[in-house]
Symmetry: C2
Subunit: 359 residues, 2 copies
C-alpha cells in the first residue's frame, strides 16, 4: 500500500482495528458521524504529490481498469458495449472499503445517557465512469457522460427500493485535493438510514418559504437569476447553470432543472442527455480555463421517503477545490470566498464561447 498521507504511527493504530463501522450521533449538534476503521486500509494509488504526472491509458494495478474486474466486489450494474460480450462502458460495484454495509445493524441504541449510535448500515457503491484509466470526466464524450448519469439514476432508484435507506448522496471527488484516493475517473453513491441536520436545514428553509409564498423558493430564485443574468453561465431548454449569489468557493456552480422536481430519482431520464451536455461543457471549461482543478460534485436531492413535494428542488453542485477549508470556516460556518460570482460567471461565459475540444 502506497500512502503519502497517513503517518506511520497512525497507520499502526489502524492496523490493530478490525471492528465494523458504526454511526454515532454528536449530542451537542445532533449530527451523525460514520466511524469506519476499515476505510483506513483502502489503497491510495498515488500520493498527492504525483497529481500532475501523466497517467497511462491502462494500469495493471488499477481495480477499475478493464481486465481487472475480479479485483472489485461483484458488479451490481453495467452498461455493456453491445458489440463485445465482455466489454463495458460504465460499471458499478460495491465499494471494497465501504463506509457503510448492508450487514450493519439498523437498531438505534442509547450508548449511555447522552449518546446514540447504530450499526454502520447502508450501501456504498462506486460508479466507474469509463474503461479509460486516464480520461477525466471533463474529457469524456457527451454520450459517455450521459451513460454515467444514467448509472447515477438507475442505482439511486434501485437502492431506494430498500425503505430503510432514507438519504442517498451521489458524489464525485476529482483530483487529489478533493479527497480522492484513486485517479481512474469514478463517482460514488452512499445510502444512509439517517437524515442529517444538514438536509433538514435546507428542507426547512424551503418549507418556510413555501408556507409564506405558496411557491418553491428555488423555482422563484431561478426566474430572478435568469432576469438578472449576471450569474448565469448556461441555459438550455431544461436546465440553468449559475454561480450562486453567496458562492462559498470560487467557481461554485449549480446546475438546476427549470421545472420543479424534488428528486433526481424521479427526474425524466429523457432529459439526461441534455444534462450531460450542460455538465460536460462546464467541466470542460473548468478543466481548460483553470488548468485542470480538483473539484467535488454532489447531487443534492430530496430524501427517498418524500420524493414528490412542492418544497425541495434537486440540483447538481460543483465545488472546485482551489482554496482550503480552514479554521475560520470550521469555527464559524462562514466561508471566505476570494472571488465575486458575477466575475467568475462572466469568465465562464467567455470561456464557453472560446474553448472547444481539439479533437
Amino acid at each position: 500500500m502506497e500512502d503519502g498521507f497517513l503517518t506511520p504511527l497512525y497507520a499502526i493504530i489502524q492496523a490493530t482495528t478490525d471492528s465494523m463501522s458504526e454511526l454515532r450521533q454528536d449530542p451537542t449538534t445532533r449530527e451523525w458521524v460514520i466511524i469506519a476503521p476499515e476505510r483506513a486500509n483502502r489503497p491510495h494509488q498515488a500520493p498527492r504529490k504525483k497529481r500532475d504526472e501523466e497517467l497511462p491509458e491502462w494500469d495493471a494495478s488499477c481495480p477499475f481498469c478493464p481486465g481487472n474486474e475480479a479485483q472489485t466486489p461483484t458488479e451490481v450494474f453495467r452498461i455493456p458495449i453491445s458489440s463485445e460480450a465482455s466489454a463495458w462502458e460504465v460499471r458499478v460495484v460495491p465499494n471494497q472499503f465501504a463506509a457503510l454495509t448492508p450487514e450493519g445493524d439498523i437498531t438505534r441504541r442509547e450508548d449511555g445517557r447522552f449518546v446514540r449510535k447504530m450499526g454502520g448500515f447502508g450501501e456504498h457503491e462506486v460508479i466507474i465512469e469509463t474503461p479509460s484509466h486516464n480520461t477525466p470526466m471533463a474529457l469524456l464524450t457527451y454520450e459517455q457522460v450521459k451513460k454515467v448519469l444514467i448509472a447515477y439514476q438507475q442505482r439511486y432508484n434501485a437502492l431506494k427500493e430498500n425503505r430503510q435507506l432514507k438519504f442517498i448522496t451521489i458524489f464525485k471527488n476529482y483530483g487529489w485535493a478533493s479527497g480522492t484516493s484513486l485517479p481512474h475517473s469514478h463517482s460514488q453513491l452512499v445510502a444512509t438510514p439517517i437524515i442529517t441536520p444538514y438536509y433538514h436545514r435546507r428542507f426547512n428553509v424551503a418549507v418556510d418559504y413555501y408556507a409564506d409564498m405558496s411557491r418553491c423558493l428555488c423555482c422563484e430564485l431561478l426566474t430572478d437569476e435568469l432576469g438578472k443574468g449576471r450569474r448565469i453561465i448556461a441555459e438550455t431548454k431544461e436546465f440553468v447553470a449559475l454561480h450562486p449569489y453567496a458562492s462559498r468557493v470560487p467557481y461554485e456552480t449549480w446546475i438546476i432543472p427549470k421545472k420543479h422536481y424534488s428528486s433526481f430519482g424521479l427526474f425524466p431520464a429523457t432529459h439526461l442527455a441534455e444534462l450531460a451536455t450542460v455538465l460536460k461543457d462546464i467541466l470542460f471549461c473548468l478543466h481548460r480555463g483553470l488548468n485542470n482543478p480538483a473539484f467535488n460534485l454532489m447531487v443534492d436531492t430530496a430524501i427517498t421517503e418524500d420524493e414528490e413535494n412542492p418544497y425541495y428542488h434537486w440540483r447538481i453542485r460543483i465545488m472546485p477545490r482551489l482554496t482550503t477549508i480552514a479554521g475560520f470556516e470550521m469555527g464559524s460556518g462562514i466561508y471566505i470566498n476570494t472571488a465575486l460570482p458575477e466575475e467568475t460567471a462572466k469568465f465562464m461565459r467567455q470561456l464557453a464561447s472560446s474553448c472547444t475540444e481539439d479533437e
Copy 2:
C-alpha cells in the same frame, strides 16, 4: 508573490477586482459567506510542496519576524520583553489582507427579492505567537503558550466592546493542509456582525437540553465521560481533554473547562496558565506521535451579547488534518472518520506518558 495554489488564469481574474468585501446570505440555507476579493492577493510564503523543508530561525521576507514590524499594519497589542524596549514575545496586528474591516457598511440590504447582503464589516487580527520564525506552537514553552492565550482573551474582550461585533472566532491554521499561507506560528481572530446558523444549531441543542433537564448538556456530558474514562486524554483541576464520542476526524480533541462558563472572554484569566499546559502537552504529543500533523484549532464560545447563560459551554476544539473533507461530507454533512476515538484516546494517553521534550 509566490503561489503554488491558484492557477494563472484565476489569478488574472483576481487582479482586476478591487471591490471591498461583503457579507452575502444564501437564501437556500440562510448561511452567510464573506466575499473578499482582496484576500486573493495575500502573500503565500511557500507553496505546499515545501512543507517539510527546514525553516530558518529568522526570515528577512517574513512580516511576522522581529525587525520586520513595519511590514504589518499598526500593532494593536503586544506582550513586551521587559528587559528590551523594542522586543516582544507576542504581537497582535490587523490582518493586512482582512476578510472584514471596520470600514464596512453594517446596513443589511435586500439585494433583489431573494437575497440579503451587507458590507464586509468586522475585525480580522493576527496573533503572532512568538518572535521565532521556526518554532511551532507545539514546541513553545508553557509560559509562551500562556502568553498566546492571554493575547487571545485580551483581544477578544477588547473587540467585544464594539457591540456591533456579535460573534468572535479565534482560530489557528497550522501546516499547509490546514489552509495557512505563512509558516511563522500565528493565530487569527475574526469578529463578525452576524450570528450564523452554525452557532444557532449548537446553541439551540443546548437550550433544548436545558429546557428538559435544567442542567447544562456539556457539564453533564463531562461528568459522564469522566466516569467512563475511555475517551479522556487529560484531566487537570480545571480542565478535561477528550476525544469526543462522535469525533468527525481522527484525533479530534476537545479541551473543556470543568466549571460552567459560556464565554472564553469571561473565563478567569488565572486559569490560563493551567490551560496552556493542557494545550501545549496535547499539541506536543500530536507533533511527536503523529509526525507533525497539520491541524486547525478553534475556540468555540458564546456570542458577545449573551456571555453568561446556563446553556452554552465554551471549549477549544483541535481538528488534525490527516484526511481530506470530500464530496460525501459536502453533500450529506456526515463525516467519515477512519479511527475509533476510544483507540486514539488510548494512544494519546500512552504518548503522554512516554513522550517528553529533549531539551
